[in-house]
Amino acid sequence: MTTSFWGSRRERVMRIWAGWRKSVRRRHVVGFGCGALLMVLLLTWQSGLSAGLSQPSRPQPTLSPPTVPATPQEHCGGNDAELVVATGDDVSTDGVQRKMIDEWNDLLKPPSDPRAKLLELSGSTDVARAQMAALAQAGSCAYDILVLDVAWVTEFARHGYIQPIDLEGRDDRFLSGPLRAGQIDGEQYGVPFAADAPLEYRRRGGRSGGYLLQLDDNEMGTINFLETIELGGGKVLDGDDRTAIALDHERDSTWQALKSSRRTLSSPEESAVLLRESLQMDEDASVVAFKEGEIGGRTVSYMRNWPIAFHQLASDPRMRAPDKGLMFEVHAPATHGGVLGGSVLAVSQHIKPGKLAPAKRLIDRLSSPEVQARLFACGGYVPVLTEVYERYAGGGGSVCQRQDGSDITNPSLSELATLAAETRKSIELARPRPKSPYYAQFSELFRRCARGVWENKVSQETFFASVGALEEALSGRVQDDRPLCGKEGT
């Protein structure tokens, strides 16, 4: 039966093929060939033409991005006696990172290892990124370990500025979000060092005031606008690596979330008025305004900020009641939509071979439970190890005891435990920024458009028309002469 079925089918095909051959004349084949040839000529001509003429204002490119030079080790700089850790700046203001480096040098490092040196590049993450990238492109060995903002890991990994690092099977000690932030294309490039996720700060006893964000024209502005939309029920990014622009998927809710004058609080049945002064706020300025409880004559009752603001507030006696209790509370957001921040420790591609093992030893130390606990208790840096959170949850955990025996400004164990619990919850709800080497371009364009909406300079139509440009930005392409959502708006 099977044979006859296959046999009859084959016969049928053969009959069709014979009929087709009979009906096809030579002139048809020639015609088909001519059509194909004509189209090839046309497309080739058009392709050459479009490169030269499609954009008359764009000159024929005479430049190309340079390749990283193969600088000989003896000329690539760096001091063999130093292991340089390049970082932004120690935002704890207490210099706690420095203490960790000091301790490593004086007490812990093997005698043959070079001394570690902490080099602060800039308070601006954009400047720190540019500085690290420029040195990597020049083949410089001046920096050995990079403290990288998680937003830049993809760029540094894909462009070959940092090298993969082996966690030696101890991945499970890290929180999953920060761990994934250091993974690019299936490889681990960064060891989690500090995590960050948004918290809602709420002044006790003053619920009638407004909510302060940080919408200043820098990376914090981008993060806050992303959160405003995604915590408010809209959508900006999608996909596993968050590189799909979903701005126009749920237009109404996205627009409503961005334009809303109110912010839903961590207890979802409540909301507060968003303060327009947020447009001029960065992290530090908003902490100052929250402490004062007012900005521009308007009451401030709530603030979005990173966990590190907790220490800045808790150390100010004005934020404590006469019974020493805190005059503010912290809460994780109620839903997904916060932006995951933080930093990783990465090894420079150009590190000299002799420094590789010492660099790994220092990274191990900086990501150890002991250091992570102290960075959290004394500096406000958010831990990346589950063990540290579990200790606080079990009633243990570290507090920052100063050597002189005074603890009048440091958070207590129960305060740190509350902070740890809310921070962990927020980290688990937070989403990463797009894993694109061109995140910086996306960030700038998205922020410009979102700020433009807040300033009533950018229309709804223009805002949603930015989808294509945002996709182009994520692939690294630049805009034409008249940038979308430019200063004059549309």
Binding site: M39, E82, L118, L119, H159, E292
Partner: protein, 622 residues
């Protein structure tokens, strides 16, 4: 009726003139055209954005579709009459279509969606030029893309270190030269440049003359812009000036200056020359063009410091002026700003970095004068020994050449006198920054209460380290701690450092960092009382570094009055300068009942900058 007759155009209706028919046809045509345009407009952009072969096939398809709908009988006839030709034509089309399909698939597969890494170039310039240079850099990036729209370079523009730090920065691989007592920390002067846009040709020339190797070769071909210094004032003040002189440029500069300061009661404000090269060049104009004898330089410079609104850069001067103009009770500020001409445009166009809404309350008008100096901007390539990359250096050169063809500040007035030479600039620096600055006995009073630990301790120490270049060989620093041992207890002043000179600032800073900030707040007035009863022969200024909480401890009554009285009573204190950390305002902004100078500022722009301003300001308080 024959086919031919059927296809003839319809005859004009009887009773209607040919003219009326023509008008009717024209109107219908116009309406139809408008309708088709209206319908198709949204689709035109979409069509234009498609690749050429898609446009071709869409046009062909649309044509065939329209033809098929309207000319079905004719097509049927054509197919029946010429079946072979039609079949051949379809084969041609099929060949073309197949080729297009294969082409599109190959293009899609071969295309790399992601751009290659652009070269990362770093530029620095004086703060007042950052906005213009950033715009130029963005324009360059847009103009120099690869064929598929990828940028060749990415540029970051940062602020260059102030004049007093420039040599250190270049000499020390852009790291601060600070005495850290062997502690393993260092910091950069922010962005380390691949190129520096200097405000004057003399600036890099002076550094080269000192043996600096890392700067590119000098030459007029590096000129990338010109501007002139101007006196900027509000339109009302400009109008008032017109009542004295129609065209100030027709008078000697001395006469313009005297009219402004004596007849109109204005002050002239300029940033500190230590931190702004435009101000340094402006100082030359003030001394030279006013025809002042050498003996009057110290007084003239002290007046400029006192009237400078405490600003260290042109940008911060513009911000301070705007804040003054915004204050309703200040009215129209009687201040003329000595700044580059383009800064006036920036101010009026709300382009001053870090200041929102400049020019809203009072715009500025530039008063130009031929005696005011030309600013001759130069592109200076910088090479660092451990960052050599021929490809990157080629791009830096290319950008420099492009910037020469697209210079900064194109709307600035034409060339005036040539700027200062490197020798003149060097002499001017020595004159203003070394000789004219009086000796300073600085007393730092540091709030060592527990609340000041986080905001003040490390930042104050870093600020002290960072200001070694501001102290001369004869200057001395004493550091005291201010606190109380109990809540609301009596103020205690402890000596942290007895006498330190500029060579010992590392020790001074380490002493501050190692001091325990673990006591209670004590009132500033009581601290002045403790400091003010010494046996110093000459009264010296006090700079108080605090988190601001100690103002709450001034007891009953008005804190300003209490502090004023304490300042007046402190015979060895010549003035009080308060720097508040971690807050955005001072609780006591001015004192009424004292002749001694008082100033209170926040450290919001950075502790080292705040201390720089404090040191320059209090130097003349005697």
């Amino acid at each position: 009726m024959s086919d031919i007759e059927q296809n003839e155009p319809a005859a004009t209706e009887p009773g209607r003139s040919p003219f009326a028919s023509a008008v009717q046809a024209a109107l219908i045509g116009a309406l139809a055209g408008a309708f088709v345009t209206w319908i198709s407009t949204p689709w035109l952009d979409l069509f234009k954005s498609q690749p050429f072969h898609i446009q071709l096939w869409v046009s062909l398809g649309a044509g065939v579709l329209v033809g098929a709908v309207t000319l079905i009988p004719m097509l049927r006839d054509l197919i029946q009459r010429h079946p072979k030709q039609v079949r051949t034509a379809l084969c041609v089309l099929a060949g073309g279509a197949l080729t297009t399909g294969v082409w599109t698939v190959v293009q899609a597969v071969a295309a790399d969606d992601q751009c290659p890494a652009p070269a990362e170039l770093r530029l620095v310039t004086a703060p007042e030029n950052v906005t213009e240079l950033t715009a130029r850099a963005q324009s360059y990036v847009r103009q120099h893309q690869t064929e598929d729209g990828c940028p060749v370079v990415r540029m970051t523009v940062g602020v260059a270190p102030p004049p007093i730090h420039l040599r250190d920065a270049f000499d020390n691989r852009w790291e601060w030269r600070e005495d850290r007592r062997d502690q393993p920390y260092a910091r950069l002067y922010d962005l380390q440049p691949d190129a520096w846009v200097a405000t004057s040709a003399a600036e890099p020339d002076e550094l080269r003359a000192g043996g600096l190797q890392s700067l590119g070769a000098p030459g007029p071909e590096n000129a990338v812009g010109r501007d002139r210094l101007v006196l900027a004032m509000t339109p009302q003040r400009r109008e008032e000036l017109s009542t004295y002189m129609d065209n100030p440029d027709g008078y000697a500069f001395r006469e313009v200056w005297d009219t402004l300061t004596k007849k109109m009661g204005m002050t002239v404000a300029r940033p500190f020359p230590e931190t702004s090269v435009a101000a340094l060049i402006g100082t030359h104009d003030v001394f030279h063009d006013r025809g002042l004898p050498r003996s009057r330089y110290p007084r003239a410079e002290q007046e400029l410091v006192e009237n400078g609104l405490g600003a260290d850069t042109v940008t911060s001067l513009l911000c301070e002026f705007d804040r003054l103009a915004d204050k309703a009770d200040t009215g129209d500020p009687k201040i003329a700003l000595l700044v580059p001409g383009h800064s006036v445009d920036d101010f009026n166009a709300n382009r001053v970095e870090g200041c929102e809404g400049t020019g809203d309350s009072a715009p500025l008008v530039a008063v130009r004068h031929h005696d005011l100096s030309t600013l001759d901007y130069r592109f200076v390539k910088v090479t660092w020994p451990d960052q050599r990359s021929a490809g990157r250096e080629k791009l830096v050169d290319h950008f420099g050449a492009w910037l020469r063809a697209h210079p900064l500040f194109p709307s600035a007035p034409g060339p005036g006198e040539s700027g200062l030479g490197p020798q003149e600039l060097g002499q001017l620096k020595r004159l203003v920054l070394d000789e004219l600055r009086p000796r300073l006995d600085l007393r730092l009073l540091i709030d060592t209460s527990g609340s000041a630990d986080r905001p003040v301790r490390v930042q104050a120490a870093e600020a002290v380290r960072a200001n070694s270049r501001l102290l001369g060989p004869r200057d001395e620093v004493q550091v005291f701690g201010l606190h109380a041992f109990t809540r609301n207890g009596p103020a205690v002043v402890t000596r942290i450092v007895a006498d330190g000179d500029r060579e010992q600032l590392g020790t001074v800073a380490a002493s501050i960092e190692n001091t325990a900030f673990d006591k209670w707040d004590a009132p500033a007035s009581a601290g002045l009382g403790r400091l003010g009863t010494g046996d110093e022969a000459v009264a010296t200024p006090v700079v108080l570094l605090t988190d601001g909480r100690l103002f709450d401890n001034e007891g009953r009554g008005d804190a300003a009055k209490v502090i004023a009285r304490a300042l007046e009573d402190a015979s060895t204190v010549s003035g009080l300068y308060v720097v508040v950390f971690g807050q955005d305002e001072c609780a006591v902004t001015a004192l009424q009942d004292t002749r001694k100078p008082y100033r209170c500022v926040t450290a919001s722009e950075g502790a080292d900058k705040a201390l720089t301003r404090a040191i320059i300001t209090v130097r003349g308080w005697r």
